[in-house]
Symmetry: C2
Subunit: 316 residues, 2 copies
């Protein structure tokens, strides 16, 4: 049976999924990303894991490898200056992989673009020609689909909505600028908000029972679910900023649907209810009540691998 490898490279771990054409994950393997100081050695390990797997599974035939990675560039096949990876500078991913596995097509894109492909082919966006996926995780990523095509832009780096600026004098971002959406609506952005709120507000809160340095976005979600006022206000604050910037996104490409994905989305209605309110409030009249805001139809654990696999199984 023909299968592809969908590889999700994360800062901590890398998952290699064996995926059939229908998007079933037949097997998956894990490699620690962080323990490799050199990219070349890391990719040699990945190639090795793949070769060992297919030697043991002669029923499968490898047709191609799709890779989703932070700052992965579809056009060049390189990972370029990814702040969340150890390896510096430009890493020629497709070239390196093809060196280890000659004759196998290798395609690379960034993780959020891969998620958009996954949403299209294995999630909720079947038949959708214009949509956006926003990933709210450690950072904030985005994949844009326009006219049934992924938007790569002139340089392959389009779709960085997480780095649009909410407040030019706002929070310092990992990118070196101030006030990026990511600094407010990523998991770590919400934790920053929690620390600010806890410091500036005297009310009691379930969050005060947690060591301030250890609060996570999940803690804020759990406290909000229990009706904790301060935690609910943190979600309201987050939803307002995200709602404004998503309304801006609509004014660029006018998608029919925006899908929300990633750890912060696990809060469910606690996030979605205020987000829909603010999104519609800040939307330009001509778009009002036309643009759906939904959670992704992808399983959190499968999305990146399926998206990477879709790079080979489909083109967009």
């Amino acid at each position: 049976m023909n299968v592809v490898c969908g590889i999700d490279i994360g800062g901590t771990n890398t998952v290699i999924g064996i995926v059939d054409r229908d998007g079933n994950i037949l097997d998956r393997m894990r490699v620690s990303t962080r323990q490799f100081d050199h990219a070349e050695v890391f990719f040699e390990k990945i190639a090795d894991v793949i070769q060992v797997f297919f030697k043991g599974h002669s029923e499968y035939s490898l047709c191609g490898i799709g890779i989703g990675a932070p700052n992965g560039n579809y056009y060049t096949g390189n990972i370029e200056f990814a702040p969340n990876l150890k390896w510096e500078g430009v890493i020629k991913v497709t070239e390196i992989m093809q060196g280890f596995l000659p004759g196998i097509p290798v395609v690379l894109t960034n993780d959020a673009n891969a998620a958009a492909l996954g949403e299209k082919y294995y999630g909720s966006a079947a038949g959708k020609k214009d949509f956006i996926i926003i990933t709210l995780g450690t950072g904030v990523g985005s994949g844009l689909v326009v006219n049934d095509q992924l938007v790569y832009g002139h340089d392959g780096f389009a779709g960085e909505i997480g780095h649009t600026i909410y407040d030019p004098d706002g929070r310092l971002c990992g990118c070196g600028r101030r006030g990026c959406l990511e600094t407010y609506t990523s998991a770590s952005g919400m934790v920053r908000t929690a620390k600010e709120f806890l410091a500036n507000d005297k009310r009691d809160s379930l969050l005060r029972k947690i060591n301030k340095e250890e609060i996570t976005a999940a803690d804020i979600g759990e406290s909000a679910a229990k009706g904790d006022e301060l935690a609910l206000e943190i979600f309201d604050f987050t939803a307002k900023i995200l709602g404004i910037k998503l309304a801006d996104a609509v004014a660029h490409t006018s998608p029919s649907t925006i899908y929300i994905f990633g750890g912060v989305a696990n809060a469910g209605d606690i996030l979605m209810k205020p987000l829909k309110k603010y999104f519609n409030e800040y939307l330009l009249q001509v778009y009002k009540d036309k643009i759906a805001l939904e959670f992704s139809g992808l399983e959190q654990n499968d999305a990146a691998v399926l998206g990477a696999a879709a790079l080979v199984n489909h083109t967009l």
Copy 2:
């Protein structure tokens, strides 16, 4: 010889241009838009002017009509709720025109999209696959090209960068919301800035010699050209806001070039110099020094007509 009509519908006047395939404007006629209270009567007049022209010019054969209009929708062929036109609600432009001129193809889009087409085929964007045009006039419009295609979005209303929000608590916009880019960087936005600066600043300025209610963006440009400090600061303020929002636009679709067009652009380097500074300052690292910021290659008076003509002469 085969020709097309490129029609530019503005709030005050409408220009009908007779355009050949190479983008030469062979003739042009003007109709007052504002004097028509009813859209149907207006379009009957337009059809009449066209018929009279072609009766008198048997050397020309009319192949099609392209129309650029505020809130013109490519998909529906309707003008929908255009705030700068007298006619309310939905106006079925292509249907009405085809009623008056049976057998002639009629295509409609909004004025900024038409400008993008004009830039591509008759301006500076030949061969460019990913670019944006920003029109700084009475309002702020934008046309986006991605993967060599105009971005219409799911509903035909994509590309409203003038209505992305700079400051959610900022200036009241004609769209009913607050802090839209248009309220700061349109010609009238600059005049608002001038009035604020003149009221809050005690310095002398050439602008104080003009009746406060009569100051125009052109006056600010002329004063700045003479070295007037306050006028230069108004441009600096305008350029900063535009620079931030254009940096945001890049994070969506990553164009290779952004073209600036419209009355405010007539200020030339007085606008462009600070704009380039702020744009590069607020650009995400991965885009720095890659995205050109240029004035449109279209003549101010021809752009809209050529863009509308390009709707028929070319598809994008």
